[in-house]
Amino acid sequence: MSSTSAQTEGKARRAARKSGRGKAGSAAARGAPDSLPSPDHHLSLLRQMLTIRRFEERCVELYSSTEIRGFVHLYIGEEAVAVGVNQALGQEDAVVSTYREHGHALARGVPAEAVMAEMYGKATGCSRGRGGSMHLFDADRRFYGGNAIVAGGLPLAAGLALADRMRGSTHVTCCFFGDGAFAEGEFHETANLAALWQLPLLLVCENNLYAMGTSLAREHAQTNLAMRAASYGMPAWTVDGMDVLAVEAAAQRAVESVRAGNGPHFIEAQTYRFRAHSMYDPDRYRAKSEIEAWKGRDPVQGLADRMRTDGRLDDRTMEELDKGVLGEIDRAVRSAEDAPMEPVADLLRFVTSAPGSTT
Amino acid sequence: MAEFTMPSLGADMEEGTLVEWLVSPGETVTKGDVVAVVETAKSTIEVECFDSGTISALLVEPGTTVPVGTPMASIDSAVAPPARPAAKQPVTPAPAPPPDLQPVPGRPLTRTERAVSTPLVRHLAEEKGIDLSTVHGSGRGGRITRSDVEHAPTEPPPRLRASPLARRLAQSMGVDLGGLRGTGRNGTIRADDVRAAAVDHLPREAEPREPVEKPVLASPAESAPGARAAIAALMTRAKREIPHYYLSTKVDLAAAMAWMRDQNTGRPVAQRLVPVALLLKAVALAARQVPELNGHWKDDAFVPANGVRLGIAVSLRGGGLTAPALADADTMPLPELMAALRDLVSRARGGRLRASETTDPTLTVTNLGDQGVEAVFGVIYPPQVALVGLGRVIEQPVAVNGMLTVHPTVTATLSADHRASDGATGARFLTAIERLLQRPEDL
């Protein structure tokens, strides 16, 4: 059902720009929504996806050499979803994410330095070393993390949307979650509440076909997730999550409608993670051929190929793009390495708002 | 002369089977020795004797089942062997040594004590009130020597009971707690006692301590013995010996019920057909079509039966279960089958079954539909090789030619003996039932 024709895309984007100039949008909505469907725009999408890809590839190296620890859930293969959806969101909109959220944070504009420093557990990390890979936050960018309880972010997102509505704004809250979350009660409680109260909420289900090691069909009696979401009385549809332009178009259409007061919308982005659930796993639950087949639909490669075909990208540009991205990530790693540690004396800080306090 | 009897090894045990003797006549035994292996309904247990002496006779042969309390062997205690340590842990826990550690004559020795001490050392230890298990042995192989006991620390004097505040006050006021009499619970010295002592400077003799109350352990209530021995034995055997496999299928009864309603029109109430008659007939006919499930497992082989004698599981009003045979169920016309069934059930419940009916059904049917359940997966009655379970007739959505509609359905299950048949045979059988019920007029 994904509408990928250039015409639809263009329409959606123009409409979004228009609505983006409402109360929230006047403050120069971040980059993408305002940019034209030009080579520059495609290049920007490509660069954002590549940044996530290269960032996470570096995470693999750093994890393997024990520089970063903990659970690290990689987004490689799913970049088109975060990047595509974020094109439709303005600066004042809110984002609630999952524990596989490096991509969402970076697409949201959280600096790679701050994310990398958080992976290092440093004081300059976006959660001051108290969160780690699964708990990235950036209040200024209305990026509300970073929730490692599957579906735990959904009620929160409904509340953020409720607050925005009660305060009379036209902001939209976007909540990312996976197909696993769709099985949790919190998804269904939230879907019902949001539809009942017509909250300005965009639900983006990143269906990567596996809840950890359990395939969609082994987890859901009915695997048509969009259809089930629609049963709550909200517009819901499925989009090719490997195609950033398709995701962008779908998100534009949804956000525009949510912003216009039509209540929550649901997008199921069908995607795939190329790597293990967490950093490494034996991958006993997926066939190698299946992984390879999906890799053939690599979203980064896909966009690059399309741009080459259209004559919008050549080898030199691509090389420079990659070099630039790698340079940015090098800087992020260096700055994380050099950053100070949080003092142990501050262990109990931020438990409550009381200065320096405990309990 | 003492007797070794069949012990009670559980509240619900009424009899036991002797599996094996571990002693023979003439052999000497000591109280606590394991002398036999006994099988109960639950498990096989090694049992001990409670007398010492010489086995003069074994009164029960292995393989024999006898009630609890039956003499199984006689023990001549006149020729008791010299005392030797019990080979087994005593059944009841040994009493804890009294707190004052006075020597207790005849206190049984622990293995450790025996192994590493001499009588002299033990005597010394008892005199000094020393628990040998706490003494480090410096002799060869950890043996406790006389010197070890002589140098072992004796029990320290009982600790004064005084509250933390009383201790702190006593120290700051220079009062010796040892001379104080506590007025608190159990003679505990409290702050006021110290203050009083500090005033009159007349320390008094401490009163003897009252013993600390010991918690009383309640004995767990024993469960009432069950009266299901026969069923228990049979079902236990079935589950132990028969490798069950289970199949289930949902049967659409729309045709059968419509036909039955049609047949019942104009019939007097007493002669009306009920669904179970159709179901039983279908089962009987299916058993004829798939003879691999109709018969008995005897001497490691399946023996097919001549004719179908359906065992009908009937729950008895006083509890329990019986499964008398309904003969010729496959050939009897439905109205006769109905009558025979009514007669059989009422006689079963009234305890008036004929001997022939209680033996040798060839295939049993259990119908728990009237109890409201949807499906029943039963346990096969040995030596039969299959059991059919019928659930409640319920209305359910079914798809017919792509359209949803609601039909009466029943879940028919099959428990079958995998030694005698395979899943494919069972499937054939259930399919046969299903097919038969689609053509009720042929039943």
């Binding site: 409904a158 800080r349 | 509250s163 505040l165 702190r168």
Partner: protein, 334 residues
């Protein structure tokens, strides 16, 4: 523990329920960011009648009936607090709050720290707790001690009409999550509001009755029982000091220890189960901080370790009662 104003007068008695409602009304009037949400808080007037009439006064936007989805609407309350509102979320009973425990623990109590201080969660969650009304095991438990285990949240147990009236305002002023436990047996309790009190603090315990022989430390629904026991004991010449904890987290160690240092004996009354209870925590702290002041072992009177039964005589036997409190005090001073 309270700020007083000089005016006086003798107002008529008010119920704990009315005092809570007055607190809510005042908060809604003073701050338009404040709203109430929960199951049946609107049309029904609140499961225990606390919010009766508020829908008419403030409208359905601010008095929001929610679906029966504790995790969903408690989480939404937390999200709304993140989004700049001051939600008051009502959960019918503490037993139901277990369905929202993920949101309370993993989000409300944790977000500030996990985000390195970026995301404060100024949500207030009210719920009924406790037994004594023959409501059976799934409506009667006292699990506030579980919540008091969690760093990052404040746990309140108003036991008097004054605290019922004024604690909400203080809770809403707190930048962090606050849980308020209202004991079900208190809703109909009457008291005369102290007209001189304008505000209460949430940091200190209160000595509700001074005494010299023993400190009876309690909170919430057990306070009236402790006070009654103190009356009985006074007739026997035993002077019991009754300490109302008011705030279960963070505990006011100073007030507790000051009392124990005066009386040298402590009896803790806690309607929760004894094992791993708040009573255990307090007893432990007394041992840590006032060991050398103790002239007797610390006693605890808690609920029997049984799911609270329905039948009256069984329920009564399961709970701390005036007689069992008095007995514990007698053991301690004897």
């Amino acid at each position: 523990m309270s700020t007083r104003r000089s005016s006086a007068g003798a107002p008529p008695p008010t119920t704990y329920r009315e005092a809570l409602r007055e607190g809510l009304r005042e908060a809604m009037h003073e701050d338009e960011r404040v709203f109430l949400m929960g199951e049946d808080v609107g049309n029904y007037g609140g499961c225990f009648g606390v919010s009766l009439g508020l829908l008419e006064e403030f409208g359905p936007e601010r008095i929001r009936d929610t679906p029966l989805s504790e995790s969903g609407f408690v989480g939404a309350g937390i999200g709304a607090a993140l989004g700049g509102m001051r939600p008051v979320v009502e959960i019918m009973t503490v037993n139901f709050s277990l369905l929202a425990m993920d949101q309370i623990l993993n989000n409300a109590a944790t977000l500030l720290h996990m985000s390195g201080g970026q995301l404060g969660v100024p949500v207030v969650i009210r719920m009924t707790t406790g037994a004594g009304r023959q409501l059976g095991a799934q409506h009667s438990h006292s699990l506030e001690g579980w919540y008091a285990h969690i760093p990052g949240i404040r746990v309140l147990a108003p036991a008097t009409v004054d605290d019922a009236r004024h604690m909400l305002a203080a809770a809403l002023a707190d930048p962090d999550p606050v849980l308020i436990f209202e004991h079900g047996s208190l809703y109909n309790a009457e008291g005369v509001l102290d007209g001189t009190i304008e505000a209460v603090d949430l940091d200190t315990a209160a000595v509700r009755r001074p005494g010299t022989d023993v400190s009876v430390i309690t909170y919430g629904g057990s306070l009236p029982k402790a006070m009654a026991a103190a009356d009985v004991l006074a007739g026997e010449g035993i002077s019991a000091e009754v300490v109302d904890l008011r705030t279960l987290r963070p505990l006011d160690d100073a007030t507790i220890m000051a009392s124990v240092c005066r009386t040298h004996r402590a009896v803790i009354i806690d309607e929760a189960w004894r094992s791993g209870s708040l009573a255990a925590e307090i007893s432990s702290r007394i041992t840590e901080q006032a060991f050398y002041e103790l002239d007797a072992p610390v006693e605890r009177v808690c609920s029997a370790e049984v799911p609270i039964p329905y039948a009256r005589q069984l329920e009564e036997a399961a709970l701390p009662q005036v007689a069992t409190i008095a007995d514990a005090v007698r053991r301690t001073v004897s």
